[in-house]
Symmetry: C2
Subunit: 366 residues, 2 copies
């Protein structure tokens, strides 16, 4: 699989949904496979909350492959012998694209907390600029899970003629009060870390890793299902030899502690806040008097809306709500409820059922 990593600089200024302006920005991208001569085989994959541009393959030195490696690759569901797959780190992120850890040319130091609020529409706007840069006039498919699925939906709404198919997986047209509440608790934990310094921790030479760790531990519970945790851990006591902390009794505690610790080493606290705020604010119907049917009416892409039965963070009602509105809007849309062993995280993992739904959709006539 031909893989190209490239950081692309956009010099033109970008007015964000909030009204704030970035004078220019960078996008860290990764592509898999080759663009055909008429540029009609391009697939955009959009990352979820903590993902990044590295969607497939194993990079030198990494232990784990990209976040959608089970789906993207030669002869896989999104077959890179046929399709040219484009992935990127969204702005506001912390893996190479412009975000809180990037150096601001105006400030001469990292943006930190001053990096502007970003939204799903903003990301889609930058992705459109990326498509133009790559000479891609229309995506064969835009796909993503969770916050990535929201981007796929926004693409179909914002640029009806530029997307043939949108795969909206484990996603929602707007999140619930409970989701917002969980995000706010995570933000609260991060903000109250003694090293957070109102988001200016880099300038202070500090990192709020304790807060990030605990926030991720909470997130991790919401990404898994109760039944998955029951099967994997149940009430098994942790072997004292491998305890990461003396206060731990159960395997599940040890696992979360470990996962939180790992995450805190590789993610930025301000990005965590920006990304969750973007998730909270996503609600494309708000520009259509809160009428999702009207909001979807302009869509020309075919939609695939998929939910997972074990997902309690973005349960199937969210997917069904989009599907019902799509039906009323008279657009071409298909809904499927999939079995998933991993709760919300099921969208990341291969299953025959999931792969066949996505593959048939991608290979269908647009």
């Amino acid at each position: 699989m031909k893989t190209v990593s490239e950081k692309i600089t956009f010099d033109s200024s970008l007015t964000l949904e909030s009204g704030q302006v970035l004078s220019g920005f960078e996008l860290m991208t990764e592509t898999y496979g080759e663009l055909n001569s008429d540029k009609t085989n391009a697939v955009l994959v959009c990352h979820a909350f903590s993902g990044n541009h590295h969607a497939a393959g194993i990079k030198d030195g990494d232990k784990k492959p990209g976040w959608w490696d089970e789906i993207i690759g030669d002869n896989k569901t999104i077959d890179t012998t046929k399709f040219y797959v484009v992935s990127l780190n969204n702005i506001g992120g912390c893996h190479g694209s412009s975000g809180p850890v990037s150096i601001s040319s105006e400030l001469g130091k990292p943006y930190g907390a001053s990096f502007p609020e970003v939204s799903v529409s903003d990301w889609v706007k930058t992705q459109k600029m990326l498509a133009d840069h790559l000479g891609i006039n229309c995506w064969e498919m835009v796909a993503g899970g969770s916050l990535g699925g929201m981007q796929a939906l926004q693409w179909a709404i914002s640029y009806p003629e530029k997307v043939k198919k949108a795969a909206i997986i484990a996603a929602s047209s707007k999140i619930s009060a409970q989701n917002i509440a969980l995000n706010e608790v995570a933000r609260e934990i991060i903000r109250k870390d003694q090293n957070f310094h109102n988001g200016e921790y880099l300038a202070q030479g500090k990192l709020p890793t304790k807060g990030l760790k605990a926030a991720r531990m909470l997130g991790h519970i919401t990404y898994l299902s109760e039944s998955n945790m029951r099967k994997r851990f149940g009430r098994k006591l942790q072997d004292p030899k491998n305890k990461v902390d003396a206060g731990i009794n159960y395997e599940v505690e040890n696992y979360l502690q470990y996962k939180g610790e790992q995450f805190a080493k590789s993610f930025d606290a301000n990005s965590y806040i920006l990304m969750t705020k973007a998730m909270d604010s996503f609600d494309p119907a708000k520009d259509f008097d809160n009428d999702l049917v009207r909001c979807l009416q302009g869509i020309q892409a075919k939609l695939l809306i998929a939910s997972f039965d074990s997902d309690w963070l973005f349960p199937k009602e969210y997917g069904l709500d989009i599907q019902m509105s799509a039906i009323k809007a008279g657009i071409d849309s298909s809904y499927v409820e999939l079995n998933g062993d991993y709760g919300h995280d099921s969208f990341l993992f291969y299953s025959d059922q999931y792969a066949s739904a996505l593959k048939n959709f991608l290979n269908s006539n647009g």
Copy 2:
């Protein structure tokens, strides 16, 4: 309603389930109504995780009544014109009974983190000592919700001849990996507060209120249901005039911030850790080769097991699991699934259906 608050001192030493010994201890108690001459009308109510002895009525200066005031009182579900209701703060708590904020006679200062681990069995043991002190040979009913329901179940197991009826509400015979995980995140948040000082914050003149606040915000989400939060808050934006924090956008965030703040003023961080650990470790079947049926076989009390349909923290499967084991054990047990508007917290609030189930149970022939 005659109400008596009394702190009772027990001078005899108490060996805890952990093997640690308290040389003596105090129980903060509150009673409602009057004990009849043959002492056969006593009802013990056991508090949940963050509750205390103050179960009913409004105390001078308080805005809110006791935690089960909708259920306990003259002519209410647990009718204090007929029954003598006993309530207490459990040891390890922070509202008057011996716990981390109490002065240790050995140390000459508050126990702090050195207060020993407590368990549901330990609480029941101290409650039995309280019954003996009050001259109550047999409870007409022991009742509680959530962690309180676990105590009611443990009573029926530990002292078969001392309980006529046990009402086990919104409870479980053991919590799930997901519950343990949520508790561990709360503990992690508290432990990493810069003012926690390994639990010795009182000696340092500090309070880990930020950690307690965020832990409670998380807890609060789990006590409410998704549908309750949707109805109450939905995606309504917070009126800027009443924002408790500038970073807030939605009403639900403001509500949680406020609730967390209030809680952090009145609860102790070490108690939070002890109480959640007691919840994690509750598993009476563990003494019976993990066979709940055998564990329940010695029970002589009649059981009422009640779950609420909107409870996602302790879902109905937990109650049904106890009921199925009770049936197999051949003991007298009844199960009911109730409508509850408040998720897990539904056990705190009156509804016709709930009150009538509990009242009929209490007034039935034992």
